[in-house]
Amino acid sequence: MTMIATKFTIIEALNQALAHEMERDPRVVLLGQDIGKNGGVFRVTDGLQDRFGENRVFDTPLAESGIIGTSVGMAINGLRPVAEIQFAGFIFLAMNQLVSQAAHMRYRSAGQYSCPMVIRAPFGGGIRSPEMHADSVEGTFLQTPGLKIVVPSTPYDAKGLLTASIEDPDPVIFLENIKLYRSFKQEVPTERYTIPLGKAAIVQEGQDLTLIAYGAMVSVATEAAKAIKAQTGATVEIIDLRTIWPMDEETIIASVTKTGRAVVVHEAPMAGGVGAEIVAIINENCLYSLLKPVTRVTGYDTPFPPPGLEDNYLPTPARLTSAILRTLED
């Protein structure tokens, strides 16, 4: 099969993935607030209601628990709902339906019923959005067995990971960094393809330090790695997690065993974030290779700040670079 690739933004790549899956699988339906005529506040679902009809692409009332709760029912009854939560911070209104219902249905029914569904939600800072519009929620869901967590960092990944998520037999929360939505274009095959869940990507190889990132932090990591190379000649291996859970421990362990040093970066607050779990995994599996403590470069232990102060809160290439420098010291 020859793949024709053209340059697309993440928004466009996601829209393609949705269109492909709807085309291919009549079970796929889209629901959420303002996703129909309006195409979603970020236009991820633009044109899909026109193309697939109101029966398969529909606006819901303004109630997040309703979105997830009815998706549970629809998934059990043979559909593959892809629900949009307008901003990830609002998932808390649906927390019970997600945690105790969607994520537990296979378990509580001893495998008789399951919830193949995807919850898409934009998140992340850097665009001066209002309160609760930028909050990162992936760390909160680490304590939710039964739920997979995916965060793409590029248009190519966005399409392949969303396709894989829709195809997955279990519920997936798919978190999309708002800042990346239109920030760059990348070659994306116009054909359908999947990127397997649970597998990280090595963005660049390196020998001296492992830098673990996901979503918008991948490009921050790349910039920092460049700065480090320029300043010290050290090479940084960058891992893009792609899937936060189940986490690709193998890739992390192999890399840190090789480099002996690691830095983790995410926007979410430090306490109990994804970084903590990564440090714990490294501790358990490669403590004896570690030359320095793993450094966490994260949001601080405060709520996501108001837009006027968010630049001070978000990890920047500069902050990350100085953390890497410290971690590279003997």
């Binding site: 029966n55 549970v72 296979r106 067995p145 037999p169 279990d170």
Partner: protein, 363 residues
């Protein structure tokens, strides 16, 4: 007959508490069906009592008695067709039985284990009953979602979602009504108003005079029915499922009944409930009412009744036995069905567990 604001203050009744018809028999009801449902009501009662007894012996987990509510439960489940769905709380097990779901399935559950497919789907038939719900009101959104899917797929199936009076206070209950209304979902949402949510009386649950009135604000027709009158419950349920099946959308039904038992085996209702109330309702026992009617009708004699009751008890005992004889999952069974497949880390954890537990040779 379905209406918005009218008649919301008096429950719809076909049989009075003495089993006398106050309205004509609902159409299309055979004596055989009535006797069948009467039997299921007894099975439900015996089963509930059996579990309470087992719980006292340490052989069942905490259990919420079903007694007093058998007419509502059975009427709720009896109208369903094979392609329909049912989802309810721990208190709606009788509806599941009326729909055909094996008593053994719930009996297995009371062992503190998730009943497996072989027990829930004997002969490979999926009864389309979701696991009894513990988290109050959440199943009402599932019911609406199931119904939305049926409509999207163009299937002629309807969904019944059942919950208690207390559940009507949860956001999810109200969101369910609203989604049902907006999407004209083929769903029947049934509130079993048994007067209490643990120790909280209906009157403290909401300032509204009744729960069916909730329908008005969501544009959903609603009915109040005497929940101890099987014929009335059947009729109202039938009408509502017919409407749903015809594409006319959802109905909210409030069935007025009473929990004759404790909230659960861990509860002491004497702390909060006046004895007179219990006496009042004991006199309105749904079994007595239906029995009187069936006997007067000649569908039952005292003798055949005694046989039926005895048979129901024996059937329950056999189902419970079946459930207890069915093998429990392995000690490591709790690793199954988290995802379709175990993650690599879970595989390792299970390996460690087996090792610690002495299940395998270990590593």
């Amino acid at each position: 007959m379905l209406m918005h604001d009218v008649e919301l203050d008096k429950p719809y009744q076909v049989l009075d508490p003495h089993g006398q018809l106050v309205r004509p028999m609902p159409q299309g009801l055979s004596d055989e069906s009535l006797v069948e449902w009467y039997r299921t009501m007894w099975q439900t009662r015996f089963f509930s009592n059996k579990v309470v007894a087992l719980q006292r012996q340490g052989r069942a987990t905490t259990w919420g008695p079903l007694i007093g509510q058998e007419a509502t439960a059975v009427g709720m489940g009896a109208v369903l067709e094979p392609q329909d769905w049912l989802t309810g709380s721990y208190r709606e097990a009788g509806a599941y039985f009326a729909r055909g779901f094996p008593i053994a399935g719930v009996a297995y559950y009371t062992r503190g284990l998730q009943p497996p497919r072989e027990v829930c789907q004997p002969g490979g038939r999926d009864f389309r009953c979701l696991p009894l719900q513990i988290v109050i009101a959440t199943q009402m959104l599932h019911a609406v979602g199931l119904a939305m899917a049926a409509k999207i797929k163009g299937e002629n199936s309807v969904v019944v979602g059942g919950c208690g009076d207390g559940a009507t206070s949860e956001g999810d209950f109200n969101e369910a009504l609203n989604y049902a209304g907006v999407f004209k979902a083929p769903a029947v949402l049934v509130v079993t108003n048994n007067g209490w949510a643990i120790s909280t009386p209906r009157a403290r649950q909401t300032a509204a005079e009744n729960l069916a009135a909730r329908g008005v604000g969501f544009g959903i027709p609603a009915r109040i029915v005497d929940g101890n009158d099987l014929l009335a419950v059947y009729e109202v349920m039938k009408e509502a499922t017919d409407r749903a099946r015809a594409g006319d959308g959802p109905t909210l039904i409030e069935a007025i009944t009473y929990r004759l038992g404790a909230h659960t085996t861990a509860d002491d209702p004497t702390r909060y409930r006046p004895k007179e109330e219990l006496q009042y309702w004991e006199a309105r026992d749904p079994m007595k009412r239906l029995k009187a009617f069936l006997i007067e009708r000649g569908a039952l004699t005292e003798e055949s009744d005694a046989q039926l009751v005895e048979g129901a008890e024996a059937f329950v005992a056999a189902q419970v036995q079946l459930a207890h004889d069915h093998p429990a999952p392995g000690a490591d069974g709790f690793f199954n069905n988290v995802f379709e497949e175990l993650t690599p880390r879970m595989e390792r954890q299970r390996e460690d567990f087996r090792h610690d537990y002495g299940l395998s040779e270990g590593k």
